[in-house]
């Protein structure tokens, strides 16, 4: 690993995040032998772009798959520049859990409530 993913992402976004640069970015990463961390670079670029527009990285975990309507309703709660990712986690039993910017958690799951009840 020659450079950290964070640095590739920063360089790419500072060049304006132009689509024509993507090929070049991967070419440079390949040359440096850093292609294995491509997925991390993409995530970092995403983070920087979202932050640039005052948005948030949101991760919402549900106990089971949601219908289209419920999903629409949920997405409407967030801003235009927020990046929302949903996941299914059966160990939540019921309800949902939301993590903002990988740091703040709002737990509204049954598993979380049960844990609170017993601790």
């Amino acid at each position: 690993m020659k450079y950290q993913a964070k640095n590739y992402a920063r360089a790419f976004t500072e060049l304006g995040s132009k689509p024509e640069q993507i090929k070049k970015l991967f070419a440079v990463m390949k040359k440096n032998g850093d292609l294995l961390q491509a997925h991390i670079v993409v995530k970092e670029i995403e983070k920087i772009e979202v932050k640039k527009n005052n948005g948030h990285m949101i991760e919402v975990e549900f106990a089971r798959a949601q219908g289209a309507l419920a999903r629409e309703k949920m997405l409407s709660q967030f801003g235009k520049y927020d990046r929302v990712v949903t996941k299914i986690r059966q160990d939540l039993i019921a309800g949902a859990r939301m993590i903002t910017d990988g740091e703040y958690e709002l737990d509204m799951s049954l598993a979380g409530r049960l844990e609170k009840l017993f601790t």
Binding site: K6, D91, I99, T100, D101, G102, E103, Y104, E105, L106, D107, M108, G112, R113, E115, K116, L117
Partner: protein
């Protein structure tokens, strides 16, 4: 009864308000070698205890060590293999603490305060003490002036240790470092005010720790001793925490106005464990690849040894750290650090050990900076000349083989030196109370043993002590043990006792 419990639970469940709140969390982004890198948790504290959720409701504790710009470097305190990338981490807002109390006496505990001797639960009367506590301040301290006898003639006579002192035991492997510490522990049973002992085994073989425990139990020393065990197979974080756990347990006894003695066996391995952790956490290596704060690590540990004043209970915590040198090199990094932190050192030499001088204390290089202010008056009176006579003997020792060509005075000094060296020999695990050391040294230093063959010294010593015990228990042994002073009256009794014994 169960009906009441169910009703109570029903009420509790019905009245439960989940009240979801935002809480700070992190995610494991990298884990290997007992170390985890965590993203998020930007508000974590240094040394904060973190909980890593490893699934199905199970958690593993970790200690936040490196607080970097984007990540936290944490050391895992549980099964490192169970942690995987993506696990959620929750800050507890607490620093690491262990439960301490009188119930720990006679037990073997892990650095996290859990019993590991299979002798049942530690009980519920324990208090929680944080592992990393600040050392007592200057105002609450008192100068070290009460002796803590080790039962070793050479140490108690020439390198006296006081309650609240930090005395380093340093030497190569197999020179008797642990034996000195164990003798000091065993000797507490002869003391009028025994210290509670904590033996911290850092990076030692399980078999050796088991052997020490068994031995201490056999001689009855476990009645006032706690063993903190972090054997060689433990992960580095546990080796790192072990001496702090020992100091914390010792502080509990000190805070309750009692005297405690803590043995760190040994701090070389502790430094190695800290180096391992620091390198894995990608901290910059310094001299001998130790991190920059290795001095602070040991100084903050040993500063916790103190003698408190009466306003703070008057308790004390004496520390006996052990350092293993390589080929007698005391100028290596860790030995010099610990020498400069402690209030003196007992230096053990392989050469002396193989010459049969045991304990192999090098009297010239061993010092006690608190020294004579923490020595029993009787011992001070008797042993005052001992160091000087041995120093003179060392200067002349090279001429021993030409003894027949030397003048009378020099020959006498050499003979006296050889005799004193013989008198100071003592076997392992046979500590002597100070009131038995005083008459022996008195006899040797005042010429009563002159002319006695070296091989007969041991025999003389044991028979003379038996004689004193049988004939002068009431008028000499008991008063000396009680007062610790060899006044003129006792000295006269001792003189006549020696003369009488020699006639027998």
């Amino acid at each position: 009864m169960s009906y009441e419990i169910v009703e109570k639970l029903k009420k509790e469940i019905a009245g439960f308000k989940p009240d979801p709140k935002l809480r700070s969390v992190g995610t494991v982004v990298e884990t290997a070698d007992g170390i985890a890198r965590i993203s998020g948790l930007s508000g974590a504290l240094s040394q904060e205890l973190l909980d890593i959720e490893i699934g199905s409701g199970k958690k593993i504790s970790a200690l936040a060590f490196n607080l970097e710009e984007e990540f936290i470097g944490a050391v895992l305190l549980g099964d490192a293999n169970a942690v995987s990338v993506g696990n959620r981490v929750i800050g507890t807002g607490k620093v690491l603490s262990i439960n301490v109390g009188d119930e720990l006496i006679g037990r073997v505990v892990s650095p996290l305060g859990q019993q590991i001797d299979g002798r049942g639960d530690l009980g519920s009367n324990l208090k929680s003490y944080t592992l990393e506590r600040g050392a007592p301040d200057v105002v609450s301290r008192e100068s070290v002036r009460e002796p803590l006898h080790t039962g070793i003639k050479a140490v108690d006579a020439m390198i006296p240790i006081g309650r609240g002192q930090r005395e380093l035991i340093i030497g190569d492997r197999q020179t008797g470092k642990t034996a000195i510490a164990l003798d000091a522990i065993i000797n507490q049973k002869y003391e009028s005010k025994p210290a509670t002992c904590i033996y911290v085994a850092i990076g030692q073989k399980q078999s050796k720790i088991a052997q020490i425990e068994r031995y201490l139990r056999e001689v009855g020393a476990m009645d006032y001793t706690v063993i903190v065990s972090a054997p060689a197979g433990s992960p580095a974080p546990l080796l790192y925490l072990a001496p702090f756990a020992g100091a914390t347990i010792g502080e509990y006894f000190m805070d309750s106005g009692r005297d405690a003695l803590v043995v760190y066996d040994d701090l070389s391995k502790h430094a190695d464990a800290y180096r391992e952790m620091s390198l894995l956490l990608r901290r910059s290596p310094g001299r001998e690849a130790y991190p920059g704060d290795i001095f602070y690590l040991h100084s903050r540990l040993l500063e916790r040894a103190a003698k408190l004043d009466q306003a703070h209970g008057g308790g004390s915590l004496t520390a006996l750290p052990i350092i293993e040198t390589k080929l007698g090199d005391v100028s290596a990094y860790i030995p010099t650090n610990v020498i400069s932190i402690t209030d003196g050192q007992i230096y053990l030499e392989s050469n002396l050990f193989y010459q049969g001088i045991r304990p192999a204390v090098n009297v010239g290089l061993s010092v006690s900076r608190v020294g004579s202010s923490a020595q029993t008056k009787a011992m001070k009176k008797v042993a005052g000349k001992l160091r000087l006579e041995l120093a003179q003997f060392r200067e002349l020792a090279a001429f021993v083989q030409f003894a027949s060509d030397l003048d009378e005075a020099t020959r006498a000094k050499i003979a006296r030196g050889e005799l004193l060296t013989e008198v100071l020999k003592q076997s392992d695990n046979a500590p002597m109370p100070f009131y038995t050391i005083v008459p022996i040294l008195y006899a040797a230093l005042n010429g009563y043993l002159d002319g006695l063959a070296k091989e007969k010294v041991r025999d003389f010593e044991s028979r003379f002590l038996e004689y004193l015990e049988a004939r002068h228990k009431e008028d000499f042994v008991n008063p000396l043990a009680k007062s610790g002073v060899l006044d003129e009256k006792l000295e006269e009794i001792l003189k006549s006792a020696i003369t009488m014994f020699k006639q027998i």
